[in-house]
């Protein structure tokens, strides 16, 4: 069945932003992803859930070609990126180009050892932007989008590391947003944060999907249920079930999914 009509029947019809097709991934001889087929819908939040070690981070890192940094890693299949249907994994595609369109936020807030301002400006400078007024505007816009502007506008020259954990994570989100990415990848972005900071990041993610497509790995199933439109359950390198989040959490199709989300796993 056409994935768009299958999954969007009850939602407003959303076009594809990306699609994994027969994706395999190997760390040397170890196959970490097995024949993954999965749509990512535009301006929606898609969550990846599954037990530790099932391949969620590995899958996420295929999108921005992070695996290229290590020899012996190998992709098979394709990740088509829409609307141009560029195959992100193609040898002909420059990973730097890919990372211009796709940004990533990690589990631990990892601001650069620079000022708040420079943390956000960094990506713009890397892209060759040098006009101070343009950078100023984009830094402010990104900090506003990350719901941080109000808290830091008078201390832009302070070190990013001086911020609280939740603020640091929002700074990393601002840094990721500054270059206007089309897809934002999050790898367990709240697992190092307290509940209040977690709630504010979740709120932010929900706001961000107005303008950017989001793919998020989370080990917190309730978080997936709260913030995502679509949820995929992975197990030992395979995509067991993908569906509309409400369906996955109320009436999953596969027993394996049900056992996992109801805590009958193990």
């Amino acid at each position: 069945m056409n994935p768009i009509t299958e999954h969007n029947s009850r939602e407003t019809l959303s076009p594809l932003k990306a699609e994994a097709k027969k994706l395999n991934f190997y760390y040397g001889n170890f196959q970490a992803l097995k024949n993954i087929n999965m749509p990512i819908y535009e301006k929606k939040v898609t969550s990846l859930i599954g037990p530790s070690g099932c391949g969620k981070s590995t899958y996420l890192r295929c999108f921005n070609r992070m695996h290229d940094l290590y020899p012996g890693n190998r992709y098979e299949g394709a990740i088509e990126f829409h609307p141009d249907r560029t195959d992100l994994l193609s040898k002909k595609v420059d990973p730097i180009e890919v990372r211009m369109r796709i940004s990533m936020v990690f589990q631990k807030p990892n601001p650069f050892p620079k000022s708040i301002y420079e943390n956000v400006a960094y990506g713009l400078r890397v892209r060759g932007e040098s006009a101070r007024s343009v950078i100023d505007d984009k830094v402010e816009a990104a900090l506003r989008s990350a719901a941080l502007w109000g808290e830091v506008k008078d201390r832009l020259k302070e070190l990013g590391a001086n911020l609280s954990g939740g603020q640091q994570q929002r700074l990393c989100i601002a840094r990721a947003l500054a270059t206007d990415p089309e897809l934002l990848l999050f790898d367990e972005p709240t697992s190092a944060l307290d509940p209040i900071a977690t709630a504010s990041i979740e709120e932010l993610i929900t706001e961000l999907k107005e303008r950017v497509t989001i793919l998020i790995v989370t080990h917190n199933m309730q978080q997936a249920a709260r913030i995502s439109d679509f949820t995929a359950y992975m197990y030992i390198g395979e995509m067991v079930e993908f569906g509309v989040t409400d369906q996955i959490f109320i009436k999953p199709k596969r027993k394996e999914t049900e056992d996992y989300i109801t805590g009958r796993f193990g």
């Binding site: 249920a225 959490f249 109320i250 109801t262 009958r264």
Partner: protein, 233 residues
């Protein structure tokens, strides 16, 4: 169903299930006793039925609180979530069935104090048996997460409705033939209506069972259509 990693969660769900079945048994017994008392005209016995309704009300409150605790503590999903949502609906139907039993008992007391010939007949007894069979099937369906038992219950509602129609036609005939029978007949009609509603609540419970087992919302459709949807799911 395999066990949860959390043994306490398993225990909580199990005690919830057991408690609902106990409440179901109590509601069934209340209806049975009310009808028994009605036929025997035993006022003291009917008084106990009225008093015992409080127990059912209390059970609803207790189970409701248990459900809230489980939701707050466990954030249930999938089958667990559907079970708890169903329990909340089932206990409200059971509580209403308890109310119907109390109503029958009250009218039973009124009727036993009226002079004149009775207008009760086997029809009401028969109708009660079917309605209670529906309730048992629906509760068994709940206990075993079995939709075939639940749909069987829904099918039986047609018989209850037909029996109610036949009783009301008969009572209208009485009233036209003998004006002295009007008060009695109207009270009896109210009793028949109460039992007919017991059938409706049993149908609701059966529909909750289908939701719990299959995630399908089958309210407001015929028994045949319910079977159809289950087959297609």
């Amino acid at each position: 169903m395999t066990d949860h990693t959390s043994k306490n969660f398993d225990l909580e769900l199990e005690s919830l299930r057991t408690y609902v079945l106990k409440m179901g048994g109590a509601a069934e017994q209340q209806v049975r006793k009310a009808i028994e008392g009605l036929y025997s005209g035993d006022q003291a016995f009917l008084e106990t039925v009225i008093r015992d309704d409080d127990r059912i009300n209390q059970m609803e409150i207790d189970i409701d609180a248990l459900c809230n605790q489980v939701i707050a503590k466990r954030q249930p999903t999938a089958i667990d979530l559907r079970m708890i949502v169903s329990v909340l609906k089932v206990i409200s139907d059971l509580e209403r069935i308890g109310d119907k039993a109390r109503k029958v008992a009250r009218l039973g007391i009124t009727l036993s104090s009226l002079s004149g010939d009775g207008v009760l007949n086997e029809g009401l007894n028969h109708m009660t048996e079917i309605a209670l069979k529906m309730l048992r099937l629906a509760l068994d369906g709940f206990a075993r997460v079995d939709v075939s038992l639940a749909t069987e219950a829904v099918h039986l509602d047609k018989l209850v409705n037909a029996e109610y129609q036949s009783i009301s036609r008969q009572l209208i005939t009485y009233m036209m033939e003998d004006p002295r029978a009007i008060t009695r007949s109207l009270d009896t009609l109210t009793i028949a209506k109460a039992i007919e509603r017991v059938g409706d609540h049993a149908t609701n419970i059966a529909e909750s069972v289908v939701y719990m087992a299959k995630g399908l919302n089958v309210r407001h459709i015929s028994a045949d259509e319910i079977e159809d949807r289950i087959a297609r799911s």
